[in-house]
């Protein structure tokens, strides 16, 4: 019995009338991990997220081979709304994922559709809104909420069904740094509180560095590295293109580790790096 949140087994995919976007994906995401999906634009990250939710290939169509398993069950033949009860998906255009007029209705929507009794719906709805930092806002209209609040609202609506896995595709691409830091703090809080597996596509690894456990690196539709963040980063570092999308902090770390043959710590913040560097390194004499 595997304890993988998501498993890709020899998965290939091409959109209708398009080229192959995912090539022979064989990778697993451990349950309870905080995994980041990294790769240059066009590598196939969004497609992979959609495959995790089962909407590729079964909602979009297209050609595929292999399988994707979510919490041990194949996504094939299952309704996407059933998979959504166990794996929540937040796309980049989160605004268009909101369907209702008020916050409370949005969060309750999925629960109502699945036949939960009204009392339980009410309770879960309130709890979910509290969890994301929007307590008591059930009656707020959508346009009374700011962009960041709407994103949290979508998160609440996904959380209300108590999924085991959360998949987010570039959640902060349109946000300023403050909002981004605050969203990731919230994600981590939820990750810890509910032992939820979090899979996030993010360009700016500085935001996820404090929380990340594992990483999958995608390039041109293939997985080039996967495993713990340290392992995957070391492999990515060897590629000239991928090296440049690693966070600056880790470019420094991996450079020094490789050059001097030592092992530096798991730097999560700039201050971690500064203290260790100060300890071990000095200015080079010219």
């Amino acid at each position: 019995m595997s304890n993988y949140a998501v498993e890709f087994k020899n998965f290939h995919y091409a959109y209708n009338g398009g080229e192959v976007v995912l090539k022979d994906i064989n990778v697993s995401v451990k349950e309870g991990s905080f995994t980041v999906l990294l790769g240059p634009s066009g590598a196939g990250k969004t497609t992979m997220c959609k495959a995790m939710a089962g909407i590729i290939p079964y909602y979009y169509g297209g050609r595929y081979a292999g399988s994707v398993e979510v919490l041990g069950e194949d996504t094939k033949g299952r309704r996407v709304s059933d998979i959504a009860m166990r794996l929540g998906l937040m796309l980049e255009d989160y605004e268009s994922q909101l369907v209702s007029l008020t916050a409370g209705e949005e969060v309750s929507f999925s629960l109502l559709n699945h036949g939960f009794p009204p009392d339980e719906v009410e309770e879960r709805m309130k709890k979910a809104l509290e969890d994301v930092g929007l307590p008591g806002r059930e009656n707020y209209q959508l346009d009374e909420l700011s962009g960041g609040q709407r994103q949290r609202l979508l998160l609440a609506s996904v959380l209300a069904v108590h999924p085991r896995v959360l998949v987010l595709d570039e959640p902060v691409s349109a946000m300023d740094p403050e909002g981004s830091v605050s969203l990731y703090k919230l994600l981590y809080k939820i990750h810890q509180k509910y032992n939820m597996t979090v899979i996030v596509v993010e360009h700016n690894l500085d935001y996820v560095l404090p929380y990340v456990t594992d990483m999958i690196v995608l390039q041109d539709g293939s997985v080039v590295a996967s495993g713990s963040f340290e392992e995957a980063a070391s492999i990515a570092y060897e590629d000239r293109e991928l090296r440049r999308i690693l966070p600056a902090l880790w470019q420094v770390k991996l450079n020094l580790e490789k050059r001097d043959g030592i092992h530096l710590g798991m730097w999560r913040k700039t201050s971690d790096a500064i203290s260790e560097l100060k300890e071990k390194y000095g200015r080079a004499e010219l």
């Binding site: 240059p40 634009s41 066009g42 570039e170 691409s173 349109a174 300023d176 740094p177 403050e178 909002g179 360009h203 500085d206 293109e241 440049r244 999308i245 966070p247 600056a248 902090l249 470019q251 420094v252 450079n255 020094l256 050059r259 001097d260 043959g261 030592i262 700039t270 790096a273 500064i274 560097l277 100060k278 071990k280 390194y281 000095g282 200015r283 080079a284 004499e285």
Partner: protein, 268 residues
């Protein structure tokens, strides 16, 4: 050249967004406009383009007061590029998309062709001239937005958060194009961004707004050398600058930084 004199702006029943700002941007400059969310940087840039008009004070473009102008009047002097390229795409080919501006201005077909070609070359989109704009990658669409603005041959280009949401490779590419446009054609660049690293590496002048006030206006080195507490203004020191400053070094990137460090004796 853009100049604002004591401009103030507030929304109809709201707090002031811009307080008494005096600012002058000369031809050929490469300026980064920084500030926390709500600091007024976007509003200020919109005042430059007559998308908004100040409650008091004046804005001058090339010495002319633009109080009675609208953006269309300024389009051939000031180009404004928005964050979301999807909101303006209307043609079926990249060529037609870029040609819209010049054609709208009733320029001769000859002139239109010339200006479009130049704009496409400056943004590396020459090979995409016949492509349907909506299938371009996000980074390419952003560059298309720049080409669209350039087609009218403005002398100043204002760019609103156009590297947001892009990976480092795309950001670098976009910035290199902008640097080339600035250095080779002398076009003034005003970049609104919250990416400190970009500001540090590409701008030659940095203006910081905080709560509607102009709090810093100098070269990037002065801001990023570690002597200022940027968190006071809602900003963060870019990683490389923070690392380098701690060793009293300057470094452009990770490789540069590492080259200036050696292992202390007895730590292998």
């Amino acid at each position: 050249m853009i100049e604002t004199r004591e401009v103030n702006f507030a929304y109809r029943r709201g707090e002031p967004v811009i307080n008494d700002i005096d600012c002058k941007i000369e031809n050929g400059e490469f300026v980064a406009l920084l500030g926390h969310n709500g600091s007024g940087k976007t509003t200020l840039s919109r005042l430059f383009m007559a998308l908004m008009h100040p409650r008091s004070g004046e804005v001058y473009v090339d010495g002319e007061n633009i109080a009675k102008k609208e953006p269309a009047d300024l389009a051939d002097r000031v180009g404004y590029v928005f964050q979301n390229p999807d909101l303006q795409i209307l043609a079926d080919t990249v060529w037609d998309e870029v040609a819209y501006g010049p054609r709208n201005k009733k320029l001769s077909e000859e002139k239109v062709r010339e200006q479009v070609e130049e704009a496409l070359a400056a943004t590396g989109l020459t090979d995409f001239a016949d492509v349907y704009p909506r299938i371009l990658s996000f980074g390419q669409k952003r560059r298309l937005g720049v080409a669209v603005a350039l087609a009218l041959k403005p002398r100043i280009l204002i760019l609103d958060e156009i590297t947001n949401g892009q990976d480092s490779l795309e950001k670098e590419q976009m910035m290199n194009y902008l640097r080339a446009i600035n250095e080779e054609q002398g076009i003034t660049i005003v970049l609104i961004t919250h990416d400190m690293n970009i500001a540090r590496l590409y701008a030659r002048r940095v203006i910081v707004l905080h709560n509607g006030n102009l709090v810093f206006d100098d070269v990037p080195e002065e801001l990023f050398n570690g002597t200022k507490d940027l968190t006071e203004w809602g900003l963060q020191q870019p990683t490389m600058a923070a690392l380098a400053a701690n060793f009293e070094l300057t470094a452009v990137n990770a490789a540069d930084f590492c080259a200036q460090l050696t292992l202390k004796a007895g730590d292998k």
